[in-house]
Symmetry: C2
Subunit: 114 residues, 2 copies
């Protein structure tokens, strides 16, 4: 996934959705990078997809936060067949552990240095 | 903040709250580390604080996700006087840009490799 060294994804007008996906990966990362790139391509094509932040602690925790306009956009992403297959492979091979938190944003704000 | 290389924070029973705080920092990090450690100490003392995940891309984006049992726990953290002073200093010195998304978790699940 992309790093956004220039700026984090900004605040949108609530309500919108965040999907917080936190992971610790296994040693077996065969095929991960290619699948990850394909998932990024697919999610960008979902109407109502707003953006993504990702950070990875070396050898440790990964956090990906996806932003979606509404529950329908998330449902479309969740039911995507390629995405579901990737999730299965993730559980079988790539992830030691993960957590997904899906949440409706009630307030948000951003700051950018003048 | 801590790295959680062993496992991400797990799923709680919804509803609960996430505060997603994404940052890009400035060159001026004088005092940041000490203040950050103090904020971690303070937030852990809030009743209803559930945990935190943090990851930092070298030289780039930081993502901190805080988990809270309810809106009252978040409100208590938000109104903490030392926290408010740290936020002010952050805008004055430490952050190039940041975004805060406060959201109510509707569903969550976790996976841990057997």
């Amino acid at each position: 996934m992309s790093n956004h060294a220039e700026a984090p994804v900004g605040a949108f007008e609530p309500p919108y959705y965040v999907a917080v996906f936190t992971t610790v990966r296994t040693e077996d990362q065969d095929g991960y990078r290619e699948t990850n790139a394909r998932m990024e391509e697919l999610v960008r094509a979902i109407p109502g997809y707003l953006g993504m932040d990702h950070a990875q602690t070396p050898g440790g925790l990964g956090i990906t936060v996806g932003y979606f306009r509404d529950a329908e956009a998330l449902a479309q992403w969740r039911s995507n067949a390629e995405h579901r297959a990737a999730q299965q492979r993730g559980r079988a091979e790539w992830y030691q552990s993960y957590t997904l938190h899906v949440a409706k944003v009630e307030r948000s704000h951003g700051f950018v240095r003048a």
